[in-house]
C-alpha cells in the first residue's frame, strides 16, 4: 500500500516501543472472557474514538464472540468492518489513491479557494504549506493569503513557507482585518489567474463567539468576490485532541460549514480516533493526514490503513 509508510516510519522512531498489537489480545482457541473484552475496550478508548463508538464495537463483539472460542480472523474482521462502517458514514469516501487531489472539490474553471481553520496550535500553517506543496507538485499554481493577523509572527511563518515553496503570498500588517486579507488574496489570485488560493486563518477556540463570527465574515467576503468560493473549508484537527474534537467540528461547521478534515500530527503516539466520532456525529470526512514535520508529510486519508494503524502501539 505504501500510504502509511511514513506514519509507520514515524512510529519506529523509538525502538523501545512494545509491539503489542491488539490482535495479540485474543489468542486463537482461548475463550473470549469478560476480562479480555474489557481489556479490548480499554484499547478502543485509548484511540480517542469516544465512549459511544467504543461501546458499539464492544457490544458487537460481546454479542458475537463472548464466551466462545476466539477465532482471530473473525474477531478482527468484525472489528475492522464495524470501524470502517463508522468511518465511512453514509457516503463512501474513498479517495482515488492515484490522484492526491481527489478529495478536493476544485472549481471547474478559474480559481479554487480553500479556507483553512482550526483551534490554536493544531498545525494550520504547517498543513497549509504542505497542502500548497502537494498542489504545486500536481501542477497547480498556488497563492496564499496570510489571514492569521492575530498571533505574533504568524504572517512571517507563512511568508517563510511561501518563499521555500516559491509561491505568491498576500499579507497585511499584523492586527489588520483578516477578511481584508482574504479579499486582497482573492483579488491577487484572480489577477494572477492562480489555480488555487489557500486562505490561512488565526487559531481560535470554537467557543469564542465573536471570533467565530469573524470567520463567517471571512467566508462571506470570499464568496462575494468569487462566486461558489470557498470551494473547500478544511478544519485542521490535532491528532492528540480528545473528545473536544467533536465540539470543534460542530462549532466550526456551524459557522463556516466545513467540507473536510486535515488530521495533523499523526506521527506521534496519538491515534486520532476522534475522527470516527466526528464522522458519525457530523458526517465530516477526513481528507488528508499530517504524518511528519517535513513538507512532503501530507498523505491522502485511507480508512483501511487508518484502521490498521489504530491498534498498533
Amino acid at each position: 500500500m505504501g500510504l502509511f509508510d511514513k506514519l509507520k516510519r514515524g512510529l519506529q522512531k523509538t525502538k523501545d516501543l512494545l509491539r503489542t498489537d491488539v490482535r495479540d489480545l485474543f489468542k486463537a482457541g482461548e475463550i473470549v472472557t469478560d476480562e479480555k473484552l474489557q481489556d479490548f475496550y480499554a484499547r478502543l478508548i485509548a484511540t480517542d474514538m469516544g465512549v459511544e463508538a467504543a461501546n458499539a464495537i464492544r457490544d458487537d463483539l460481546n454479542e458475537k464472540h463472548r464466551g466462545r472460542t476466539a477465532v482471530i480472523d473473525e474477531i478482527w474482521g468484525d472489528v475492522r468492518a464495524k470501524l470502517k462502517a463508522l468511518l465511512k458514514g453514509e457516503q463512501d469516501h474513498l479517495w482515488d489513491v492515484n490522484n492526491p487531489l481527489s478529495p478536493l472539490k476544485l472549481a471547474p474553471q478559474g480559481t479554487t479557494v480553500i479556507l483553512v481553520a482550526g483551534v490554536n496550535g493544531v498545525g494550520k500553517t504547517t498543513s497549509i504549506a504542505k497542502l500548497a506543496n502537494l498542489l504545486k507538485k500536481n501542477g497547480k499554481s498556488v497563492a496564499l493569503a496570510a489571514g492569521d493577523t492575530f498571533r505574533a509572527a504568524a504572517v512571517e511563518q507563512l511568508t517563510l513557507w511561501s518563499q521555500r515553496l516559491g509561491c505568491e503570498i498576500v499579507t497585511k500588517p499584523s492586527g489588520s482585518d483578516p477578511a481584508a486579507v482574504a479579499y486582497a488574496g482573492c483579488m491577487r489570485a484572480l489577477e494572477l489567474k492562480a489555480d488555487v488560493l489557500i486562505v490561512d486563518t488565526a487559531g481560535r477556540l470554537q467557543t469564542q463567539q465573536n471570533l467565530m463570527k469573524q470567520l463567517a465574515k471571512i467566508q462571506r467576503v470570499i464568496s462575494e468576490k468569487i462566486p461558489g468560493a470557498p470551494h473547500e473549508v478544511l478544519l485542521v484537527l490535532d491528532a492528540t485532541t480528545g473528545q473536544n474534537g467533536v465540539s470543534q467540528a460542530r462549532h466550526f461547521s456551524e459557522s463556516v460549514s466545513c467540507t473536510g478534515l486535515i488530521l495533523a500530527k499523526l506521527d506521534g503516539t496519538a491515534k486520532g480516533g476522534i475522527v470516527i466520532a466526528i464522522r458519525q456525529q457530523m458526517n465530516l470526512p477526513v481528507k488528508y493526514i499530517g504524518v511528519g514535520e517535513q513538507i512532503d508529510d501530507l498523505e491522502l486519508f485511507d480508512p483501511d490503513a487508518f484502521v490498521d494503524a489504530l491498534f498498533e502501539t
Binding site: E156, Q157, L205, D238, Q243, K265, G268, T269, I274
Partner: protein, 495 residues
C-alpha cells in the same frame, strides 16, 4: 471548562435523589455513569478505573451520616477523591532573590509554549522579578520572531541567535548573557515543540537539562488532549523529571480530563492554567476549586479573587458610599458594567457563580449575547446628557426619542433600561450594608431575574433547585432507560 464532566456527573448523581441510603446497587449505577463521564472527558481509561475503585471503596459500606442524604454524601466522596487525584498543588516556582533562576518550558507542538512563556514573564514582572526570554525554538519558522514580539509587548528582553546555532548552545549563551546583564533574575527557555517519541529531539532536551540544569522544568500541556496525554507526559517526565505542568487553552469548552490523567500518571503538580490568548490569562491551578466546579458547586473563590484583583478598590469604595447614601446614578451603573466587563466574558463569570452555570448554558445555546447587551446599555447611557444621567426622571418622551436616535436603539429599549436601572439601584442600596457572602447571593438573585441580561427573556424560575433537572419528563425518561439497561445487564450477568 470541565462542563461535560459536570453534566455527566450531575446526571449520575441525580439518581440518588429521593433515595434513602447508599447501597451497593445505587452506588454501582452511579459509578458506571461517573466512569463514562470521565472517559467522555478524556480522562485516561486506567485513571478513570482507579478513580471509581477508590470511590467505591470509600462509598460502599460507609455509615450514612444522619445529617446528610445519600446524594450529599456521595458528592462529598467523589469531590474528595477528585481533589486527591488532582492535588496537592505547589504554585511556587522556587525562585530566590539574588540568584539567577532558569525555567525551562517544554511540550508537544502547538501546546502553547511560546505564549505561556510570555504569560509567565508577565506574571513574574507583576511580582517584581526581572525575567528574560530565550528563543530556543529553532524548529518552527518564525518562532523566534513570535517570542521577540511578545518580549516587546511586555518590555522583557529576548535572547536569540540567528538560525544555524544548536538549541543547547543558544540556551547556554542565553543564560550566560543573563548572568552578565545583572538586571535579570529569571531566565525562561522557550524550547521547540517536539514529539515525545522523537529520540533525537528528546535527547536535545536532556542535553539542555544536563548543561544548564534549570531549577524548574515545566511541561506545557493542551487541555484538549485526549487519551494520549498520559503517553507524552510520561515520556517527558522520564526524560527530564518535570517539576510542574501548565495546562493551556482552558478557556474553551475542553473537558480537560487531561488534568486528571497527567497528574495521576506523572505525580507532577499542575501549577498554572492558561485561560485566554491575552498575556495576562494565566492563573494558579486549584484542585479543590476545579473539583467543586466539576461537581457543579461553582467556583466562588476564583471569582472573588479575580474580582479583588481587577476591581479598582477606590472606585468601588466611592460607589459603595454613594449606594449607602442611596444615590446610585446611571453613571455609576455604567461604571459597574465596565467593571464587570473587565472580569472577562460574562458567561465565563457566570459559570463561576454556583447555580448560574445553567443560565450561562442556556444563554450559550441561544442567540443571546450578554456582551452585545452590555454594549447597547453603554451606548444608551453615553447618549444621555450629564444631567439626564444624574437624574433619569428628567427623561421624557422627546428626550427618550433623542437618546434612542443617538444610540441607534429603540425608545422601548430605553424604557426597559430605565426600569431595570431603578430595580437595580434599589438592590444596590440594599446590598451596600451586606457582607461579601450576602452580596454574592444577591448577585445570583439578580442574575436569576435577568439583570445582567436585560434583553433576554430567560424562562428561569427562581425557586428551582440549583442542581435539579431542567426537564422533569426527560429526566424521568432517562431514569427509566437506565433502569431498563440495568435490568438487561443483570439478565446478561445471570446468563
Amino acid at each position: 471548562m470541565f462542563e461535560s464532566i459536570s453534566k455527566g456527573l450531575e446526571n449520575a448523581l441525580s439518581l440518588f435523589r429521593g433515595q434513602g441510603k447508599l447501597t451497593e446497587t445505587n452506588v454501582q449505577l452511579a459509578l458506571r455513569a461517573v466512569t463514562q463521564a470521565l472517559l467522555e472527558a478524556d480522562v485516561n481509561f486506567t485513571v478513570a478505573q482507579e478513580f471509581t475503585e477508590r470511590v467505591t471503596e470509600a462509598a460502599v459500606g460507609r455509615e450514612v451520616l444522619k445529617s446528610l442524604d445519600p446524594y450529599q454524601q456521595f458528592v462529598g466522596i467523589v469531590y474528595h477523591e477528585l481533589v486527591n487525584l488532582m492535588g496537592p498543588v505547589d504554585h511556587s516556582l522556587h525562585l530566590r532573590r539574588g540568584e539567577l533562576v532558569v525555567l525551562m518550558l517544554c511540550g508537544l507542538q502547538g501546546s502553547g509554549k511560546t505564549t505561556t512563556c510570555g504569560k509567565l514573564a508577565r506574571m513574574l514582572q507583576e511580582s517584581q522579578w526581572r525575567p528574560m526570554l530565550v528563543a530556543a525554538d529553532l524548529q518552527r519558522p518564525a518562532a523566534i520572531d513570535q517570542l521577540k514580539i511578545i518580549g516587546e509587548q511586555l518590555g522583557v528582553p529576548v535572547y536569540s541567535e540567528p538560525a544555524g546555532a544548536g538549541a543547547v548552545k543558544v540556551c547556554q549563551n542565553g543564560v550566560a548573557a543573563a548572568r552578565q546583564a545583572d538586571n535579570i533574575d529569571v531566565v525562561i527557555l522557550d524550547t521547540a515543540g517536539r514529539l515525545h517519541i522523537d529520540a533525537e529531539l528528546m535527547q536535545e532536551l536532556e542535553q539542555i537539562d544536563l548543561k544548564i540544569s534549570p531549577q524548574q522544568i515545566l511541561l506545557v500541556c493542551d487541555s484538549m488532549t485526549g487519551q494520549d496525554a498520559v503517553n507524552s507526559a510520561k515520556a517527558f517526565n522520564e526524560a527530564l523529571e518535570l517539576d510542574g505542568v501548565i495546562l493551556t487553552k482552558l478557556d474553551g469548552d475542553a473537558r480537560g480530563g487531561a488534568a486528571l490523567s497527567v497528574k495521576a500518571v506523572t505525580g507532577v503538580p499542575i501549577k498554572f492554567i492558561g485561560v485566554g490568548e491575552q498575556l495576562d490569562k494565566l492563573e494558579p491551578f486549584h484542585p479543590d476549586r476545579m473539583a467543586g466546579r466539576i461537581l457543579g458547586m461553582g467556583d466562588v473563590l476564583t471569582l472573588v479573587e479575580k474580582a479583588q484583583r481587577e476591581f479598582d478598590a477606590e472606585q468601588m469604595a466611592l460607589q459603595q458610599e454613594k449606594m449607602m447614601r442611596g444615590k446610585f446614578t446611571l453613571v455609576d451603573f455604567r461604571n459597574t458594567m465596565g467593571q464587570i466587563k473587565k472580569l472577562g466574558p460574562l458567561q465565563q463569570i457566570m459559570k463561576m457563580i454556583p447555580g448560574m452555570g445553567k443560565i450561562a448554558e442556556v444563554m450559550g445555546n441561544s442567540d443571546i449575547d450578554p456582551e452585545e447587551d452590555l454594549k447597547q446599555i453603554e451606548g444608551i447611557i453615553d447618549s444621555m446628557t450629564p444631567r439626564e444621567r444624574e437624574n433619569p426622571d428628567l427623561i421624557d418622551i422627546s428626550r427618550r426619542r433623542r437618546i434612542a436616535e443617538g444610540s441607534g436603539t429603540d425608545p422601548a429599549d430605553i424604557n426597559k433600561l430605565l426600569k431595570e436601572f431603578s430595580q437595580m439601584s434599589g438592590m444596590m442600596q440594599s446590598m451596600a450594608g451586606m457582607s461579601k457572602l450576602q452580596q454574592l447571593r444577591q448577585i445570583k438573585q439578580m442574575a436569576d431575574v435577568g439583570v445582567f441580561n436585560p434583553g433576554a427573556d430567560l424562562k428561569f424560575q427562581k425557586n428551582r433547585s440549583d442542581r435539579g433537572p431542567l426537564d422533569k419528563r426527560a429526566e424521568q425518561e432517562k431514569k427509566k432507560k437506565m433502569r431498563k439497561e440495568a435490568k438487561k445487564q443483570r439478565k446478561k450477568n445471570r446468563r
